[in-house]
Amino acid sequence: MIHFQAADVAALAPEILLSAGAIVLMVTEVFLRGERRGYQALLTAAFAAAAFEAFAAQSGNPPRAIFGGFAVQDGFATFAGAVVCAGLFATALIGAGFLRPRAAERGEFYALALLAAVGMCLLVRGADLLFVFVALELMSVSTYALVAYLRVGTRPSEASFKYFILGAFSSALFLYGTALCFGATGRTSLSGIAAAGGGRLLLAGLGLILAGLAFKVAAVPFHMWTPDVYEGAPTPVTAFMAVGVKAAAFAVLVRILLSAFGARPFAAAWQPLLEALAVLTMFGGNLLALGQRSVKRMLAYSSVAHAGYLLVAVASTARTGRAAAAAVRGEAVTGLLFSLAAYTATTAGAFAALAAFERLSGSEPQPWDLDRFAGLAKRRPWAAAATAMLMLSLAGIPPSAGFVGKLLVFRAAVDAGLVPLAILGVIASLIGLYYYLRVVVVMYMEPAPAGAPVSPPSWPTDLTLVATAAIVLLIGIGPGPLTAAAAAATGLLGG
């Protein structure tokens, strides 16, 4: 029986704020008379900011179990949760600019996004496989609905259906893995599994859990759904999937691997597996992105490739061989957290750019063609400069947040003795350079096609675009504070 305590409720303040936001939006939507819905995005952003603040207030607290050990409050969860809230903030602003011209602004959209964020925030603090599963489903079900939000046309329904089927499949894998772990140890809590240990059955459970989460982070070869779903979903939702879902899934992956399966025999089993996944994902994502003319599809594959870089960091957390030192493991987790934050800022900005320039009628083929970006340097110089900055950050060119992220990740890999993995990583990012540069080439070096329709500018989208570019640049110039925060969060990883 779980006993709630006041302190537990205080620890959950961010989730409670987000849920309250969802309820407020749903209720006001019902009683709305007119068509003025501008407040909804701002309200969502405000709740996201409040939840971010609540997480920030918790940072530095020593780790402690809440809800009788089902969840924890620790620096790691706080950092990852704050990243999710930042992603939600950007999503709300992109959503405002995106939905208004399409006459699709409704409270449900923002409420669903808030609920998905609640799922993510709970996910990153899950300390028990059952709790993790419930949070995973809360996140996933909200996202399924969001993907299908613009019901018009075949693309959204195809995307949503695909995501739902494959998402359900991956949840089933995760659940089956949980069941096997329970069968092997009689526990579902991460610390309990770690204490009990076990043989092949537990390893099989770990494998299934890994496969389930690999679907969520879109690691090759579990990435098949990504391009279609990312392309079919409304752009703000794609942004949220690329940043929020990925950040939360990575955080819980690291927690499960380190808390439940951190012991040496297990680490020796999953480290090579993750190395292989990382290599496949980096190369698969980058190579598949090369041929894309649709910028949205390109960004989808780019997010696959970035999952690969993050997997390098996860593989470097293993306590095997030379990587036995706790400092090395800490470096890898710091690198992962920093990269998640950098990736969130950059990717949110990139999707804001996409939302700013994509063609209005989403039902036509290719509203996201590269041509939409042609000649932007002359028509919209600041937006073009911001987009170029974000592309350079995705490509990992200094001074940008993306560069520092890659530096930290590859440093962790070299420290963990995975030098070949780091070399493969830089070769993969070299491939990636080509398609990121192509966006810059098109914006700066090719003239706009004659009579190309210009998307109406919308201030929330433009604000997100320019602000994220500025943040990415600032983090690139002065990465100290964020690095320190990530390192502090690492030190407080509970379990």
Binding site: P398, L407, F410, V419, G480
Partner: protein, 550 residues
Amino acid sequence: MNIPWLTILIFLPMLGAVGVALLPREEHGQHRAVGLGFMLLTLGAAIAVALEFDPAPFAPEFQLQTNVPWVPSLGIGYHVGIDGIALVLILLTAVLGPLVVLTAWKSVQTQVKEFVIALLVLQTAMLGAFSALDLVLFYVFWEAMLVPMYLLIGVWGSERRIYAAVKFFIYTMAGSLLMLVAILYLYYAAVGPAGRTFDFPEILRLAPGLPLAAQRWLFLAFALSFAIKVPMVPLHTWLPDAHTEAPAAGSVVLAGVLLKMGAFGFLRYAFPLFPDAAAAFRPLVATLAVVGIVYGALMCLAQRDMKRLVAYSSVSHLGFVMLGLSAMTVEGLTGGVYQMLNHGVSTGALFVLVGLLYERRHTRAMADYGGIARAAPALAALWMLVTLASIGLPGTNGFVGEFLILAGSWNSRIGGAPWFAAVGAIGVILGAVYMLWMFQRVFLGPNRKAENQTIADLSGREWTILVPLAALIVVMGVHPQPFLDRIEPSVQRLVDRLGAHHGAEVGTPPPSIDRQELILHPVPTTPYGQPPHLPPQFLRRLQELRRHHP
């Protein structure tokens, strides 16, 4: 009061870029004027840096240092400082800066604002890369050079500009990413008592102690990145495209400064950090260098396009630089550094001149010209001067550099050293052939084409660009000592460092003097003031004693 001149120097152009960004879009004249003004201020700061710099042989190695933590948790610092080699290259960069803006004054008419910003940002990145004393800081500046140069080629270039820009970017990036892994490995492997750091002087102390197997890989990773930038054959194929397609101003920066970055990288990083590996790979570097000299020269003979010819001549000249560096003697290295300056001045001037012709006639094919010396006598005279400098006529700067390189290479202890020098000398002859041949085809003979009859001679602005370069050619040719005085102590240190590991293979062979005799009698000196065959600490002490007890 301690003024951080170096930091001011590095970030002045960046400040200018911000200023230009805030100006209204249509005010092209203001963009150019502000850009020029900040380039001149940068030049002033560079002169201040040069005055602050102490060229004495016993002065500290890295001067004008600033060292503040940047990302303390990772051991990354904002650590800048310069030795003599960096100082002269900084001066070269600062001198070319205003001239580049002037070069583009008329020829760039679209997106002037972005153009000036790109030039200024590039200037900051280049000055920063020469000054950085932290490996991550160096890498950041090194990469930051790429984007503006890429835009300069891709936005303001000629027909095949996008192809050339992307090729340039991907080639250079391929090398530098492997360098990044090598930097990370150094951070991991070279750990001193003070903990892990990216600080260059600290790593310079520790890295030479690494085992040879690790050094080999690290050297290769660094050298690949630098060899692409130099460029050394066979990694040079991006260069002709990039030069040909870039606007004249872009070519000047590319040839004048960016290529030097590669040779500078060898001098500052690849050689002293991994002396054992450097000694092991020296024959390869020297071989590629002479192959580059001859191959570049032969390619020049086959060109119809003037700009492409000058581009291939850069391959040949940078081959000379690398030959001088690979000799690892004081003469060879000094000559290599001096030749870097010469190449920056004379090839920069050549690209300016080709650009002037292109502005007049909109063609770069030599066949479209002929006999225009009559119509534009001043242009022809200056072209001739630059040609002579480029082929190394005595009295011009090129002679000093090439002579030192060939002498140093001949005396070096690399196997078959005279052969390398001899093959290199063939390049000097071929250089005279293709440069004079170009001059003849463009300027001499009858002026047959109607549109060439009225080709305009130099305007006031064009005189302003060319006179400083011509003056440098002459001054550096007849009075090289102030430059050599600054280069030489740094080079001596490098030779000492390499010699400490490979005493038998580095430096000049000792003359046949008995050591006993040497201590009893006054110390004989080489043209560079240092006898080459005793432990350097001992020599310094000896010279100090001699100064105090004449």
